[in-house]
């Protein structure tokens, strides 16, 4: 897909809660050996998807100097909305002091909801319906105690301010592609607290098939190859999947390394690939091309190509993702359980 009028990223921001729990601590508790990553973030007792979305969006606005009055949409992609019914975006918009003449909705497509929000804002900005828009991916992902997901389901998010290229962007969107199919690898039924998944089904038929199809579709339609890109970011449910899909598609470790934050942060679901993109933008230079490929269970993948512009230096997020990670402090399982509301007084 290519918008008729060129659009891109005006500003970006990310947020990760302060607390991490070591995978080792979880594995020891349940008597298992599996430690798919080193540690994962978890939200403080007073954080949820709304506060994470706010933090990321605030950082995007403050770091880029975007005029709040020009923002005409707030879409939040998440699978952990604080309210089943009541939009998250209205709280975030009000707290950020945005106009009340804005479009707002919560998006759900498992881990792909954040890039889905971006695609929507690309279209709205390109059509001229709005001048700028905020697309946010944020989650406080749930993993049932003892389940495989408990090792990786993390909290965090990233926000992107999308504008037309003529308004000045730090990265220009060259093209995007999307691929979806009815694939039941992971789901959470209404009113259920925790999601379920079909174990090994989450690999080949879900993650790999959809990301490979969307990236290959993008390459076939627009004539790209892996060597065109300085960096690539793939959805990061664990460390193994993004490194393996990168290799299968012909990308090197050097290309994916800057955006690969999952080993310490965990899988931030709707925030995952967007957080990886933020970490990559933190180090990208003008002229660099970046491939972003998300994945959402259920299932689908959005692929996007960005070219970084000269404005990157002045618009970089402050502080960078690396600083958000280095400030994190470990918490034990009891603190995790209390903050996650698994343990209550």
């Amino acid at each position: 897909m290519r918008p008729t009028r060129e659009v891109g990223i005006y500003g970006y921001g990310a947020y990760i809660p302060r607390y991490i729990i070591e995978n080792r601590d979880i594995a020891d508790l349940w008597g298992r050996d599996a430690t798919p990553i080193k540690s994962k973030s978890f939200p403080s007792y007073d954080e949820d998807t709304i506060t994470i979305a706010y933090e990321a969006a605030l950082r995007a606005i403050e770091s880029s100097g975007a005029d709040r009055s020009l923002i005409g949409a707030v879409f939040i992609g998440s699978e952990s909305k604080p309210y089943a019914v009541k939009p998250s975006g209205t709280v975030v918009a009000e707290a950020l002091g945005l106009s009340r003449n804005i479009l707002s909705a919560d998006y759900e497509f498992a881990c792909k909801a954040g890039t889905e929000a971006m695609q929507t804002v690309f279209g709205l900005v390109s059509s001229g319906m709005i001048r700028m828009g905020l697309a946010i991916g944020a989650d406080t992902a749930q993993g049932r105690p003892g389940d495989e997901l408990e090792y990786t389901a993390a909290a965090g998010g990233a926000a992107y301010i999308i504008s037309r290229v003529e308004d000045g962007v730090l990265a220009r969107l060259e093209a995007s592609y999307t691929y979806v199919s009815d694939t039941p690898d992971f789901w959470r039924r209404s009113l259920e607290e925790y999601p379920r998944h079909l174990y090994r089904f989450t690999g080949e038929p879900a993650y790999f098939h959809h990301i490979m199809s969307s990236v290959k579709g993008l390459f076939d339609e627009y004539g790209y190859s892996p060597s065109d890109f300085k960096y690539a970011v793939f959805h990061q449910p664990n460390y193994k999947f993004p490194t393996r899909v990168a290799k299968k598609l012909g990308f090197t470790m050097d290309q994916i390394k800057p955006g690969l934050v999952v080993a310490l942060v965990g899988n931030t679901y709707s925030g995952s690939s967007l957080l990886g993109l933020a970490a990559t933008l933190d180090v990208a230079q003008p002229g660099d091309k970046i491939l972003l490929a998300s994945f959402g269970s259920g299932a689908g993948s959005d692929s996007m190509v960005f070219e970084v512009t000269d404005l990157i230096e002045e618009r970089r997020m402050k502080p960078p993702v690396s600083k958000l990670i280095s400030r994190m402090v470990p918490g034990d399982y009891a603190t995790y359980a209390m903050f996650r509301d698994i343990l209550r007084r």
Binding site: S44, D46, E47, D48, T51, A95
Partner: protein, 127 residues
């Protein structure tokens, strides 16, 4: 507070919007209709987000709606424009006087399992 009055104050809760005296320039948060110093008329004023902890105390005995959030540190924060405000601290193990903090949005409390979630400004160490 009720779910309705919480809603009425959301503007000030979410964004550190205080007041400034049209006569003497005194600022305050939460906003006041008349200036505490000279009694003059006031106007809305957006306070800066950054400041320093001046005093703090640990609160343990709190209304039941804070059950999930107690104990917490309450602090007097001097914002970068000199305005002193009282606010909750978060993401802090042990505060210290002079600690640099910035305002963020966090959950303040909830009305039970099915009631509203009330959000508002808290201060945390500068990122």
């Amino acid at each position: 507070m009720t779910e309705v009055s919480d809603w009425r104050f959301r503007r000030y809760r979410y964004r550190l919007i205080g007041s400034r005296c049209r006569e003497c320039g005194e600022t305050s948060y939460p906003p006041r209709r008349r200036c505490a110093r000279c009694g003059g008329a006031t106007e809305e004023y957006q306070l800066p987000r950054r400041g320093r902890v001046v005093h703090y105390t640990l609160l343990k005995a709190l209304p039941t709606r804070y059950n999930r959030y107690r104990p917490y540190y309450l602090a007097v924060v001097e914002l970068s424009d000199g305005t002193r405000v009282i606010g909750m601290l978060t993401d802090v193990d042990e505060p210290s006087e002079g600690m640099e903090v910035e305002a963020t949005l966090r959950k303040l409390y909830t009305y039970g399992e099915d009631g509203k979630i009330i959000y508002g400004v808290k201060f945390r160490p500068v990122l």
